[in-house]
Symmetry: C2
Subunit: 415 residues, 2 copies
């Protein structure tokens, strides 16, 4: 394995954390936050080298760009992480067995966390601080577009680690070569989990090629069902919020499921969306109900392809359903199991929906826009898992840990 | 995908569980236990067809064989599962947010659990009962050697499901063709987790080829460190138990790490092992200490290959270390992170060891033979995870579940 020496070093470095206290960890992180500010000119200068290689018209340009204000936000985020309680060492379970063995389950770091991401240099600080807080060494593979920025950031981090007498191998930035990605995907025995952060294409690539355990984050094909009894006023505000608050995020609404008895309310329900420029892709019944009311240039007949699409833009599919079971069937078929909502004043229907829908976050009478670590009170978030193993939905500090069983005996043997 | 129709059916069937109560689930399982007994002649007859195709000298023959007594044990195990509390619906976390949203984390089934295993027909009953109890549909891929047995078992299970009006697709047995395995490994979006049960070769194959999330179970390269202060009498019993209780299991001892100051005690420490016929592979210092005491035909100089080997037989590596840190380094290098132990009367050393060793189960002054779901009080076990994601160590019912976030609002939108 070409990068085996690097992986071996990182894995060895991960053992450092068994002798670092939560306070020492926070102290390092505070110094990293300070160093991010102190090194602003250097970081911006290196970031500019990356920017110079990219057209400002490229949609990635803005994500790549660091500014003084953004570095201040980054420093604040790291400071915030230091204020969160450490999950490490938590006794999850403890019991004295009849044979006198004392058994407990203790929260421990995962070990080595790999993260593959694209041209967002802020992720480098972000992933480092969350991994370091949770006692994990990290192996970072950033996009080649951000090479200068990431090298500069890791240099700043390493200088702080060195000052604290901690090996820099706890935060390893891989070179931009593609072979490094391939090695990371295959680093069985060295990497405990790999988290891809970025486009669906990146996530698919990682899932297809990884030999190490992966947590998938990302894609949200999000529905909201407007039930027969739903409140029109609340529903109008919620749908508008879920669709337009930020269209590029995974919790944004993609499909409105409308109870057929509420077709007459549909024009009012989506009226604010017209003003925001939302294009609707409506099934036949919804199209019919809207055609005299919604701007013609924003209203299109829905094709099959519009269902099950994550738009990430000012577009919304509208589907009319006969009843709640039909809505549930549609969601089961097209949902990416991220965030799903029901708007209803019928308590029984709400319970059926919350129970039946298989998604990371299921909502009643509120906006799917709340699917977010900070909103859920997790303090920080490394991603939103769309799989069911290990972590589901927003992943905070606890989701960057594992546990081990500790058994204390006094000579017991098994019969 | 060739088996897509089957996977689609199983996934759809997994939704059945949202309308089954814990009592209904237990009632089905009790009937399956009864049916296993009632159909003993049929099951033994079909099992005999498999046995007829295999040489009785084949080490797999005994694992493949069903008997009346084994079917009684299987029925008892299923009955036992019905007595365990259901983890489903457990409220893991609940909170009222400042904006009035009520947020909770609820335990739910994983969805569809795939299990690939070898010629052990008991696994078919075992996996079905644990998955059904936890509200999961299962896709079973058994070894071709057990084809008749598995078909018979699934027929018995399906008859019970039918009697209860439950779709048989909640328990899907794939055909024995290799293509079925390949499809299962790639059933992204249909299978929530895949658990290989069997040899290291099978586990490696699954890890290398799976596109769906995998939980690795199995391999245990197990060490016990006999410290400077360890009690000789207790240590002798513990080491003998850990090595000889059952040599073919993953928690069996593979390497004794001996503090150099205890070399003079080594002959007494391993004396009972000689009687059990344990072959020792000793490093130079240990070999020297043993040569006048241990039977010559059972004592060999250790080669590098003997460290980091899971023997699964009456063989034991012996390595002399200068101190605790050296023992920790050896474990970090060779352990498979399954079960590791320290024998010591030094409380400080014990704490250092328990804290520093990265393994699913870490023991002080007792036998690694305790790494087992039943011993840990989990009631039942689907395997012992050697990875750190999702589940570590013995996996019981809870480890066959995920969770979802439920958020109840009253018109809240995100700012």
């Amino acid at each position: 394995m070409p990068y085996q020496d690097i992986f071996t070093q990182t894995q060895a470095a991960s053992r450092t954390f068994t002798s670092l206290s939560a306070e020492q960890i926070n102290s390092v992180l505070r110094d990293v936050a300070a160093a991010a500010l102190e090194n602003t000119p250097f970081l911006l200068q290196e970031n500019q080298k990356d920017l110079d290689r990219m057209s400002p018209a490229d949609p990635k340009y803005d994500r790549l760009k660091l500014t003084e204000a953004r570095l201040q936000d980054i420093a604040k985020d790291i400071e915030n992480v230091t204020t969160l309680p450490s999950p490490l060492g938590e006794v999850i379970f403890q019991k004295e067995l009849p044979n006198g063995l004392n058994i407990s389950k203790i929260r421990v770091p995962l070990g080595v966390v790999g993260v593959i991401y694209e041209a967002r240099p802020n992720v480098t600080f972000d992933v480092f601080s969350l991994c370091f807080k949770t006692g994990n060494a990290c192996i970072l593979k950033g996009g080649s577009d951000a090479e200068f920025s990431n090298n500069a950031i890791i240099k700043v981090i390493h200088a702080v680690l060195e000052k604290h007498g901690i090996t820099p191998h706890v935060a390893t930035l891989l070179p931009v070569e593609r072979e490094a990605t391939q090695s990371l995907l295959e680093a069985v025995g060295y990497v405990d989990v790999l988290i891809p952060r970025g486009s669906q294409g990146l996530i698919d690539f990682v899932r297809q090629n990884a030999k190490v355990p992966v947590i998938e984050t990302g894609a949200g094909i999000v529905h909201t069902f407007f039930d027969e009894t739903a409140d029109l006023e609340k529903g109008t505000a919620i749908l508008f919020n879920a669709k337009t608050r930020r269209v590029s995020v995974c919790n944004a609404l993609d499909c409105l499921l409308l109870h057929q008895k509420r077709l007459t309310d549909l024009p009012a329900l989506v009226a604010p969306m017209a003003q925001a420029g939302v294009e609707l892709f409506a099934d036949a019944a919804a199209y019919q109900a809207l055609r005299a009311h919604y701007p013609a240039h924003l209203l299109h007949p829905a094709q099959e392809e519009h269902f099950g699409t994550e738009f990430l833009s000012l577009k919304l599919a509208v589907k009319t359903v006969g009843d709640l079971p039909e809505a549930l069937d549609h969601i089961a078929r097209y949902s990416s199991k991220h965030s799903e909502a029901i708007l209803s004043e019928d308590a029984a229907n709400i319970e059926v929906f919350l129970n039946a829908v298989d998604a990371a976050a299921v909502y009643a009478n509120t906006s799917t826009g709340f699917t977010d670590g900070a909103q859920f009170g997790l303090g920080a978030e490394i991603g939103i898992s769309t799989q069911k193993l290990h972590a589901r939905g927003p992943m905070g500090l606890e989701e960057l840990t594992s546990y081990k069983w500790i058994v204390r005996g006094n000579g017991q043997v098994r019969g």
